[in-house]
């Protein structure tokens, strides 16, 4: 994953807000990277660019050598479904669907048949230790369990890249550490994991930290 001179501007009526002002960042396969910085510094925005949730206003974003910065919406969606797994602070699970149905969602959009989906979704839930809770709805699960369902969902399509936006932000420290352990497991498997955080204990857990300030990398160059 590489970002080259990536910028992102949001338009709020007449005003343009520059969330990113030119970021160069390289992430190698197998990296475990913490993206830190104060609130509003552009961490989430950068994460969204990396995973194809947004397109940069200028500059390029390369994923596995492909420039995705000008991909059409449908192509970006495909890419999000197959190459990237997202984990969010608020979990973002479908409240009326069971854990296993939530995990199966990316598999559905990737076009897998129904039986395969259920099998794989169950395997992913086992993997995060939630096999017995497969048929529970998010409302019946604790925060930590919800976040593990979200991680299972992120893993469903076996993506090389996992992007987490403050995944421990809604959890107590103990549960947060468990979640981080899970992420480390993913890295050990050879996946790339990027975690946005402003909690020092989370950053300390990773191999590499990059700090954003006002839409720029603090040390200027993150190509590493």
């Amino acid at each position: 994953m590489r970002a080259e001179k990536a910028t992102k501007a949001y338009r709020l009526g007449e005003v343009e807000v520059w969330a990113l002002r030119g970021v160069d960042l390289g992430v190698r396969p197998g990296d475990f990277l913490a993206l830190t910085g104060p609130s509003g510094s552009g961490k989430s925005t950068l994460l969204h660019l990396m995973g194809g949730l947004h397109r940069p206003t200028s500059g390029r974003v390369l994923l596995e050598g492909q420039d995705i910065s000008r991909f059409p919406r449908a192509e970006l969606a495909r890419l999000r479904g197959r190459k990237v797994g997202f984990v969010f602070q608020q979990f973002h699970l479908l409240p009326r669907s069971s854990a296993v149905a939530n995990v199966a969602l990316p598999l559905m959009y990737a076009g897998h048949p129904r039986q395969v989906r259920r099998q794989r979704a169950l395997a992913c839930l086992e993997r995060v230790g939630l096999g017995p809770r497969a048929d529970h709805r998010p409302g019946q699960l604790s925060g930590g369990e919800c976040q593990r369902v979200a991680i299972a969902r992120a893993l469903a399509c076996d993506p090389p890249l996992v992007l987490a936006d403050e995944p421990t932000g809604s959890l107590d420290t103990k549960t947060g550490k468990e979640i981080l352990q899970t992420f480390r497991g993913l890295v050990d498997e050879g996946r790339t994991v990027v975690v946005v955080t402003h909690e020092p204990y989370v950053a300390a857990f990773t191999q590499r930290q990059v700090r954003l300030l006002d839409g720029r990398l603090e040390d200027g160059d993150g190509t590493g």
Binding site: L53, R80, G81, R82, L93, L94, R96, R153
Partner: protein, 423 residues
């Protein structure tokens, strides 16, 4: 995603908001039910009425003669029923011409006991025209003209005289203030009513006798049949030519209007008196006029029903727009996990279509029920041709797509990050 799964997913989403779904469905139900009921009722009523109009078939032409409107009694003598029917039948495009004159009388069925009786004066050709045949004895014959003989319709015979052999018996009938003894020469087979002719419930006597009794030998109705349906216009033209010529001949022999052509004379008579000496009415015209008015009615009422369906569609759009806003986060979650804009569009569109199909089915059922009740109340046959329900369902499907597409499109254009942030 397979169809079954789409349906399940869609139903799940609709089930989660029962009240909202119920209201959207209701709009469609009312529209479709109204459409189906209206079409069914109009078709039923139409079948009933056009059954009466058609009767003898589209080849039929009815001619009424009123010779004394324009002629003196002496001149009108040229309009004897048998003679006219002969001349009309001679026209190339006319296959049958039967004079009919009807009146009512009373049959004496017991001591001081009478029963009302509908008496038709006609000729032997009547039986052939109506395709009904004697069960006992025979129908009228040219040699019966002027004689007081009578043929009874099947139901009439049983009602008046009970079952059994009636040929040869006499029946006393009060007609035109006279009491006559009729000799029964035949009883017909049951035929069922033909159009609005209740042929089984009438008595038949020679037309000449009836006209003599009524003192009006000149007023007559003729039922004609063109050689075939395509010849009706031709037949009407020929009949008019024959009758015009007849009036002209009879008028000009004693014409007092000098210097005018015969045709102009007829025209003048018609124009000044406002009463034609005859009318020619092709059954087909009646049928066409009736069908035309039915079609108009169908269009108007169907249009109103269609508008209510349209309103139902707008209701769906309104409710769906709300649903899209409410489910923005869901859209964001789906997009973040790989749903393409087309997947989101399809999902919402499918839900709208599902609402319309369910509403369409229920509406069909309700409309069918209303149509059946209407048929019972209005006493016409219950008719529901497969086309209107098919159209109603297709139309509600169309409504679903037409009004679902905009909200669905809005959902599909949402920005995934904004959608996820939505409260």
């Amino acid at each position: 995603m397979g169809l079954a799964e789409r349906i399940l997913t869609g139903l799940g989403a609709l089930w989660a908001h029962k009240l909202r779904t119920g209201l959207s469905v209701l709009g469609v139900v009312i529209g479709v039910a109204a459409l189906v009921a209206i079409v069914s009722m109009i078709q039923g009523a139409t079948a009933e009425i056009s059954g009466q109009i058609v009767g003898l078939g589209a080849r039929t032409i009815t001619v009424n003669l009123y010779p004394t409107r324009v002629l003196q009694a002496g001149q009108a003598a040229g309009f004897l029923a048998e003679q006219i029917s002969g001349e009309l039948r001679a026209a190339a495009a006319v296959a049958e011409a039967v004079p009919i004159s009807n009146t009512s009388g009373e049959a004496q069925v017991g001591f001081n006991q009478t029963s009302p009786l509908r008496v038709i004066g006609t000729t032997t050709d009547y039986a052939r025209l109506f395709e009904f045949w004697p069960a006992q004895g025979r129908f009228l014959h040219p040699l019966d003209e002027g004689k007081s003989v009578m043929v009874l319709g099947a139901r009439l015979a049983t009602e008046l005289l009970g079952p059994g052999e009636h040929v040869g018996r006499d029946l006393v009938v009060n007609l035109h203030n006279e009491t006559l003894v009729f000799h029964i020469i035949g009883v017909m087979n049951p035929r069922g009513s033909v159009g609005n002719y209740d042929v089984d419930g009438q008595a038949y006597v020679p037309i000449s006798l009836l006209q003599e009794l009524s003192g009006n030998r000149y007023f007559s109705t003729y039922i004609l049949q063109a050689t075939h349906e395509g010849q009706v216009d031709e037949a009407v033209a020929q009949i008019e030519a024959i009758l015009d010529q007849k009036f002209v001949d009879l008028t000009t022999t004693t014409a007092t209007v000098a210097g005018r052509g015969a045709q102009q004379l007829i025209g003048a008579i018609r124009a000044t008196t406002q009463i034609a000496p005859y009318t020619v009415q092709a059954q087909r015209e009646l049928i066409l006029a009736f069908e035309e008015s039915t079609r108009t009615m169908m269009l108007i009422l169907g249009g109103i029903a269609a508008i209510s369906l349209l309103v139902g569609g707008i209701g769906i759009m309104n409710i769906m727009l709300v649903a899209v806003v409410e489910r923005t986060r869901e859209v964001g979650i789906r997009m973040a996990t790989g749903a393409r804009p087309g997947d989101i569009l399809g999902q919402f569109l499918f839900e709208a279509v599902l609402v319309c199909i369910v509403g369409g089915m229920l509406g069909l059922l309700l409309g069918w029920l209303a149509g059946a009740i209407g048929a019972r109340v209005g006493d016409w046959p219950f008719v529901l041709s497969p086309l209107p329900p098919a159209i109603a369902i297709a139309f509600s499907l169309l409504i679903g797509v037409a009004f679902g597409i905009y909200p669905a499109f809005r959902a599909s254009r949402l920005d995934p990050v904004d959608a996820l942030r939505h409260e």
